[in-house]
Amino acid sequence: MTGEIDYLAIAVCAAVISLTLWVTFAAARRSRSATGFFAAGRSITGWQNGFAIAGEFISAGSFLGTTGLIFYKGVDGAVILCTSVISFLPVLFLLAEKMRNVGKYTLADVLVFRTGARRVRVVVALSTIATGTFVLLAQLVAAGVLLESVSGIPFALSVTVAGSLMGIYVFVGGMLATTRVQVIKSSILAVLAIVVGLGVLSQFGFSFPGVLSSATEHAVSGDAVLTPGLIFGETGALNLISYALAFALGTAGMAHILIRFFTVPEASTARKSLGWTVALCSMFYLIVIVMGFGAMAVLGDSGADRVGVSGNLTAPVLVTELGGGAGTIGGSIALALVAAVAFASIVAVVAGVVISAAGTFAHDVWPTLTRRPESPAGDPDMGREAAAAAIAQKDAKDAKIARIGAVGFSILAILLTMAIGDSTNITYFMGMAFMVAASAHLPSLLLSLNWRRFNSTGAVWGVLTGLISTIVSLMFTEALWLGSGPAPLTIQLPVIITLPLGLAACIIGSLVAERRQRTDLADEKFAEMIVRAETGIGAELAEAH
């Protein structure tokens, strides 16, 4: 944290990278087929998928940013944590099992199940890639900034290494390697979090009230850290509600989270995997709360000077202190472990986003660009076996294109991150991603799976409205307002406006085009989807090994 090169931190990071690369190359053989590449052969077990979803979900921002947020803003900083845990409930109740039964490789597969409309694929792909880009930029900027401050590795080098690794994971090992990297990250993170949590509590006789009592004595804002309002007090209830809704509902529309349900063999495994995710995320987030208040208590009155204005260094400074302090062997090892975990967190998240974006590009965008027929098995004279072979051939080609797309996407992300630099507000990129997911994807997905009258026009209108209204509304918030005077919107993440707009566009679009698009065949496809979603009849099968 002095800006000098920390060789121990680099060595631990290198060890973690070596481990992840080893599992990646070990997974390469099983990722040759399309199902192997896109969906890990649908062979991932419940706990593995649960750990992978947690690995995908818990970013470096949760680990480092939220600890700092609680350090400065107290209990308001924990809002994002509890809403994030709750956000898995709509996924569990409404989507996980149905997605597994209906989908194949991408989010668009579910949305076009009934209509087969290519324009829906393209629009969903556009918003999926936009969401992925927001997440990628946020994570890569975080990788550069955090590794520079924690281990002394320059910003550009950190971004290049993280960006290259995500490309390698996906290119070589596909979804299986990505899953294993995420499982490794979650496991390391869980162990480290437990050690740090126990370390904090041990300083106060394992009494959380003791931690809080000491925290309020040293906190920058004193007793106010225990009272809601340090973040949302000035901007009002509407801001709090909209902010909480963005994170509570956004998860259910995140493509890179939802496609994880295609990697398990059956719907019940998809359900079980969410149990593991909720357990792991809950444990980790509760420890983050202990770490945030623990940092106030352990670091004392000089804490604010040591963690910096942003608070992103709260966790590294805290673990260094718990390890024995700066300059000691214990402190250096603790800091090196935090650097490694932060790095592992980032590469695991970005690898998941890249495989989602690359799969979307290959499966949903490329066929449109090349004007390839929607279904190679569409020839009525083709037998069942010939049709299956044609689909397998098409999927294999998609996997090849996705590998190339992953490399291209990685290079583009590295260049974009270099261009926007290290002073970018990464919180807004993550907020934008959650907003697009909640406003564009979620209404379309829920209506597609449940409403008979929903059609392709409704899907296109809804996704586009959600995407555009998110970007436009954010331009009127304080963070992005370029006009003179105060920003017109005092809400940080105006999902309370954009989600109803997306939903209304879905409904209006469907009703406008109903007479044209509602046919007996469309009703039949809806019936087929309902039967498949509820029972798993006709769902994609796991690959035999």
Partner: protein, 114 residues
């Protein structure tokens, strides 16, 4: 192609009326609606508390921990309870209906083939 489409047209929409399948949808709707309403109430209680009663939550403590943090912890605990309830109901209430619906559909298909 026409024959195949016509055959499919009768197949799927007819399944929607199979009594076992109707029962499956009823059970799933009942579970998700009930648990969903509880989840919304849980989340709303957190929002209402933080938005409109911040001082009450900050000034009062139980076991040395302020109510504000108890509200945060209640979201975690509530989520665990709801996940557990959903898992249990899925196993004991929905899965038997899924098995019955699948068996009824397969039997129906066999009868059609015969």
């Amino acid at each position: 192609m026409t024959d195949h489409t016509d055959a499919a047209a009768t197949k799927w929409s007819q399944i929607l009326t199979v009594p076992e399948f109707v029962e499956l949808r009823r059970r799933r709707r009942r579970v998700t609606t009930t648990l969903g309403v509880i989840a919304i109430a849980l989340f709303a209680s957190f929002l209402v508390g933080f938005a409109f009663f911040p001082d009450v939550l900050g000034d009062n403590s139980v076991f040395g921990i302020p109510l504000s943090l108890w509200v945060v912890f209640s979201q975690f605990a509530g989520t665990w309870v709801l996940v557990y309830a959903y898992f249990r109901l899925s196993r004991s209430y929905i899965q038997p209906a899924v098995d019955a619906a699948v068996a009824a559909i397969e039997q129906r298909d066999q009868e059609r083939v015969a």
